[in-house]
């Protein structure tokens, strides 16, 4: 089932001025329910613009965004519905925290949805548990949390709306490796638990390889490639022309292959690499 689709989606910034740029041009995508879509692309390729179109933060210049087959800009009510059904978590979401307590901040979204107090309470606790914050954090001021905790509190604020599609714009930007793993795991678990669609914008080809089921590559405001991780990552040369490089481990295996070792080159994560090496070593070293 297709959750989100776009038809000829185009967005202009600074329209009508000499600075006018088409940040995305004629984008046609279809996102299936339950997928974890990785969106990659060089800086300025239009990733953030595209995802802000999907829940109606930005209004398209041309084209439509279909949420479950309905045009999200059909009416005022439909646009509000889209905001709740498609949860968008911006880059550096910790800067959106504002309430007195973490609890109130996470409850901001659900409260805007006009849910009753009991339901809000349930969702806040669920989201808090999900992102790995503790009960005692809820009564603290969000400004007293550490950087990583703030980030998780902000993500919880979006998750608490229980959106059908969760979109995250570079959720790991500026975090240390440990914080990064925490967030990535959280996204993975969220998808496994809820079965909801997740879209992940990332600069890290490694992160996308680890999590995503399908990949969308943007280049110069257009979709340059789309498909499964294997399909996209096997086109290493085209990717590097766009300024994107396949994961380090993939390059290692390509190098091994070049040196005459009979290894599989479709290796995109460390885990796959480990398996392949074990398989290969078990087979013995060639003469």
């Amino acid at each position: 089932m297709t959750v989100i689709a776009t038809r000829g989606l185009t967005h202009l910034y600074s329209k009508g001025t000499p600075f006018q740029v088409a940040a995305i041009k004629d984008i046609n995508i279809e996102i299936e329910h339950g997928e974890l879509v990785g969106i990659i692309g060089h800086t300025g390729s239009g990733k953030s613009t595209l995802i802000q179109q999907l829940n109606g933060i930005l209004k398209p210049e041309k084209g439509t965004v279909l949420l479950e087959g309905q045009d999200i800009w059909a009416s005022k009510a439909s646009i509000r519905q889209a905001r709740f059904k498609v949860g968008l978590c911006f880059q550096y979401p910790e800067y959106q925290l504002f309430e007195e307590t973490v609890y109130k901040d996470i409850a901001f979204g659900p409260r805007n949805m006009k849910l009753d107090e009991e339901e809000i309470n349930r969702r806040v606790h669920k989201a808090t548990e999900f992102v790995g914050l503790k009960e005692e954090h809820l009564s603290k001021s969000p400004f007293d949390l550490s950087g990583g905790e703030k980030r998780r509190a902000a993500i919880a604020g979006v998750m608490a709306m229980e959106p059908m599609v969760l979109i995250m714009d570079e959720p790991t930007a500026g975090l240390d490796p440990h914080g990064r793993d925490l967030i990535l795991n959280l996204i993975k678990e969220y998808r496994e638990d809820t079965g909801n669609t997740v879209m992940l914008v990332s600069h890290s080809m490694e992160d996308v390889a680890q999590l995503a089921s399908t990949v969308l590559v943007l280049e110069n405001a257009q979709v340059a490639m789309s498909g499964t991780v294997e399909e996209v990552y096997s086109r290493g040369e085209e990717l590097s022309k766009m300024g994107l490089s396949v994961p380090q481990v993939t390059r290692i295996f390509a190098g091994l292959r070049e040196r005459g070792l009979d290894v599989d080159t479709n290796i995109f994560t460390l885990e796959q690499g480990r398996q392949e090496l074990l398989r290969f070593l078990g087979k013995g070293v060639p003469v």
């Binding site: 910034y13 933060i57 509000r80 911006f90």
Partner: protein, 273 residues
């Protein structure tokens, strides 16, 4: 979008006006504004118009850009012109035109025209200053011009530094507001409908993060400045030394000539028309 507001309207270039010393430009701009008010006859005002047009040509700022700066004052110009047309009583030996309760006199029409041209010249001259001077150039020059105020314990340097920083951070803040508004919109915040009180309340989720990040930025900036040994204006030298050159004296002489021309036209051709 909120970001499209332009702050400061510097128009890059290398014309005579662009290369004038900013201090001289500020002083001369004030002088010319005073001169505009000295124009008493159509001849002297005519000279002023010629001078203004010449300045526009010299600055090489496109006419379209200049006209844009006139847009906000169209209303004022039209309004004063109308007031003058209807409220000036004519003298006996000129025509008048009457209809319904209105009475238009020849003198009224000319006064209106006179005022309109004056205001337009005024605005063009002062926007030429900002078109041909960078905002930092302006604040630097202001600092120099205000530095004699030290006698009254007014720190011109501090004021100028604050102005420079404020100018520097306006675009940053606008971008920040945009970003926070979008983030809260994504969580269902709504300040486009509802009662006035509710709409005002809906701004809290924008204002608080904005204040928080502004304070954060201010601290960071202060630390960064301290790390680079900033201790205020005392003993501070500049990368760009301001020096008066031949050009600046030429401009001074030119403005002096304009003043002399206007005054003599006023004396020798005193007739309003």
């Amino acid at each position: 979008m909120i970001k499209d507001i332009t702050i400061g309207q510097f128009f890059p270039g290398t014309s005579f006006l662009h290369r004038l010393d900013a201090r001289m430009k500020i002083v001369l701009t004030f002088a010319i504004i005073v001169i505009i008010f000295l124009c008493k006859s159509f001849f002297s005002l005519g000279l002023m118009v010629v001078f203004t047009v010449a300045l526009i040509l010299v600055s090489r700022v496109p006419l379209k850009t200049i006209l844009k700066s006139l847009k906000p004052i169209i209303f004022i110009v039209v309004f004063t012109a109308l007031l003058n047309i209807f409220y000036t009583t004519g003298d006996a030996n000129s025509w008048t035109y009457e209809f319904w309760i209105f009475k238009i006199t020849e003198k009224g029409v000319f006064t209106a025209l006179f005022m309109a041209v004056r205001i337009i010249c005024l605005v063009i001259i002062s926007s030429l200053l900002t078109y041909t001077t960078t905002p930092t150039g302006l604040t630097d020059a202001l600092e120099r011009l205000l530095s004699p105020l030290k006698v009254f314990k007014i720190e011109a340097h501090t004021i100028a530094m604050m102005m420079t920083l404020a100018l520097r951070f306006i675009p940053t803040l606008i971008e920040e507001i945009d970003r926070i508004m979008n983030a809260q919109k994504a969580r269902g915040a709504n300040w486009e409908s509802g009662s006035l009180v509710n709409r005002a309340k809906a701004l809290i989720p924008v204002l608080i993060p904005l204040f928080v990040s502004s304070f954060r930025r201010a601290y960071e900036l202060a630390f960064a400045m301290e790390c680079r040994c900033y201790t205020g204006g005392k003993g501070r030298t500049r990368m760009k030394q301001m020096k008066f050159g031949v050009r600046d004296f030429a401009a001074l002489v030119l403005t002096g000539t304009l003043l002399a021309g206007i005054i003599s036209l006023n004396i020798f051709f005193p007739k309003v028309i």
